[in-house]
Symmetry: C2
Subunit: 440 residues, 2 copies
């Protein structure tokens, strides 16, 4: 007979748990037969003693089947997930790009968490946009239209919510196998046949160094393969905001600009890279570069922009936003932060930048906070750029009553969060560090 | 500002916690501000990453001061604690021995736990004996009479009960620092100036090997020294029952027999060794061997037996028990287990032997179980003894309705729990492996 005690003791002693033991434990947790304090002891033992790829797959499996799973009656279904970063709005660009190439893109996205924004929060800046479709509507829309975007639902992998809640307060978040099971249980439930995973690395990301990011990439690919999914992992930089805009409405505008071919280079390139990966994984392009070429054509022809506009309309949003950004909630006040001397931008504290936007009201400090869509930051310079004294580095978009906060923030940004050097920095962060594809 | 998350993360990463952090965490747990699932994550991190002697002292300190502490207005107060074993009834012998030599012995004892019996359960086999004195009565009696025995009270180190309860279900019991803090927080609260600690090692004990036992001994001595206590640690064998009797009334009888000078050699020797240690620690004997000599005199003269009798009377028990074992609850049925062939006893599974007594009703399977004082086992042979076919090895003391259980038990004992060899075993377990004394 299995017991929670024996299972904890086994992992405590560094032994491998069987699939049966992992299932028994998690199902017991969900049924209230295993206590949360037993789960947290096991989580710490997993954190410290590790979890094999077989154990990770078993945990993913039981979390996956703790809720509903989708099974699309359609081909070429490929999903994308990002581990989260500052100014990461690629979803709004790559989803239409891939869909325009014939990929079916089922997106179930999250809300803002800590210092990073959330795809669902951002898209809700568009007046009328509905992210709360039922799973049945979601499935029907995907099969018929090929592109749909909704928010996380409690019906998908409910075990993850419970376990994540415990990890969040017991210092067991940063564990590769636990991160893998959390991400993959949700993504596998969403029914895609291929998954592109954008793993952010840097001072604005969960993964602070490349070795950790590589381990997570391998763990995620291995888990995907065990569940018969085609997998692509991309390790991309998060040592500065992606693109120039951070903040909900501001990021929607930048996404539309990018779909019009006028976006910042880093955002455009990464979106094409990921969208091209989705086209490739779907089987609609023989190679990744062929996929990227197709995505680029969909960008140039304006087809992707049209696909995005249609999705907005279909989900109740005001599609006039494509041509009139004025219908978005926008901040009335702008404070320009300018360089105090000549030099080069050497480094940015991306997490701090994310927290500034939260502080302006662009994200939540607690779950019940209401988001102010209009506020945020736009950057006029990136790492490696030359700045002259008095030249604008960034603009703070804020509300009338935030002047004091904004002055302090400008000070922090110049003195603490952005570092300068007198000579051009030798080594700039790359955009993409590594891409790996695994076919099951 | 301190946070439970940061403290868990620090220990998770193998760093040393400050006294302030440990106090904040445990006081938060007691106040309901730190959750039990956070405590269990920290316990697992301590189990796996260790706890320095400074950290252990801080934990002991905050647990100690979670409840009442005693401070006797008397000299020569020395306490004794055993980590628990099968048939361990030394308390009933060494306490009167030491008290007869002038040591004041304040005993706060536990009830049965798992496969081991409890001192409080055993003494309650004596009709009328009261173990539930208030702490005030306890203190007054100790100061006036020099010997008193009560059960654990919730007033002493209540934090230990909460933490032990969590450890018990999260596989974090067998951690040297956590065991140290649990034992020492209670023992230090009981106000003794010296503590003799009998650490059992073997297949019937918590500590399964000598290396572990030695680590625990060092940890306990170090912690005692930090709190200005004189400490003696004894590592003694628990690979077979101590003495011949296992079971509540049976152990009381064997204790009285030993105080009459007719006890088994191992039990007599260990009791004298420990009592002599108490006399030495109290300052009433210059050396441990001088202490043992004094204890032996108190045994021979019958003074210790008289002291025991007086304690029984003082605490409401029927002191006629000293001369008439018939007033104890005793089992009516006896089943003799005899050797099935010639040979030597090579090994005993002491834990299994303890569990047999629990199964007969001599211990609790759950906290609400009522104890049957009369049942138990008496051994006629020990490890290394020669046995002839048909010769009795042990007797099962049981009730009328347990015949089926007893037949199965006899079978298990002969076939599984006691091993035989045809030649005399080369190496027999010693009684005492190591004794160390530390003066603060």
């Amino acid at each position: 007979m299995l017991s929670a005690y024996e299972i904890i003791a086994k992992k405590r002693d560094g032994l491998e748990l069987s699939e049966e033991e992992i299932k028994w434990f998690i199902q017991g947790l969900l049924a209230g037969k295993v206590a949360d304090y037993q789960m947290s002891a096991l989580l710490m033992a997993i954190y410290l003693n590790g979890f094999s790829s077989k154990e990770t797959a078993s945990l993913t499996d039981v979390m996956l089947y703790s809720g509903k799973t989708l099974n699309f009656n359609a081909q070429h279904v490929v999903d994308k997930h990002s581990t989260g970063g500052i100014g990461d709005k690629t979803s709004f660009i790559l989803a239409p790009l891939a869909a325009a190439c014939g990929v079916r893109v089922p997106m179930i996205a999250g809300r803002g968490l800590g210092h990073t924004g959330g795809t669902v929060d951002k898209v809700e800046a568009i007046p009328g946009f509905k992210t709360s479709l039922s799973l049945e509507e979601f499935q029907r829309t995907l099969e018929k239209e090929g592109l749909v975007l909704i928010g996380q639902t409690g019906e998908i992998a409910p075990a993850d919510k419970i376990i994540y809640g415990l990890r969040d307060v017991t210092a067991t978040i940063e564990s590769i196998p636990l991160i893998t099971a959390s991400i993959m249980s949700k993504k596998l439930a969403e029914g895609a046949q291929g998954i592109v995973m954008d793993i952010k690395v840097g001072n604005g990301a969960f993964m602070r160094n490349k070795a950790q990011a590589r381990k997570l990439a391998t763990s995620i690919r291995n888990t995907g393969l065990r569940f018969n999914r085609n997998m692509m992992t991309v390790i991309s930089d998060m040592n500065q905001p992606l693109g120039n805009a951070v903040g909900n409405s501001l990021e929607i505008i930048e996404s539309i600009e990018t779909l019009k071919g006028k976006g910042p280079k880093d955002l455009t390139d990464l979106s094409l890279h990921l969208a091209g990966g989705m086209v490739h994984l779907s089987g609609l392009a023989k190679t990744h570069s062929a996929g990227i070429r197709k995505a680029r054509e969909a960008l140039k022809s304006g087809k992707a922009l049209k696909v995005f506009k249609e999705m907005i309309k279909r989900q109740g949003g005001d599609e006039k936003v494509i041509d009139d950004y004025g219908i978005l909630p926008l901040a009335n006040n702008h404070h320009v932060v300018a360089a105090s001397r000549n030099g080069y931008i050497k480094k940015m504290e991306a997490t701090q930048i994310g927290l500034h936007v939260v502080q302006l009201g662009g994200g939540r400090q607690k779950a019940s906070d209401k988001i102010d869509f209009g506020v945020g930051l736009t950057f006029h310079k990136k790492i490696g750029d030359r700045v002259k004294e008095g030249e604008p580095i960034l603009t703070i978009h804020h509300n009338e009553n935030q002047k004091e906060l904004v002055l302090k923030m400008a000070d922090d940004l110049l003195e603490r969060d952005i570092s300068f050097s007198t000579t051009k920095p030798q080594k700039l962060p790359s955009l993409i560090y590594e891409t790996q594809t695994s076919w099951y």
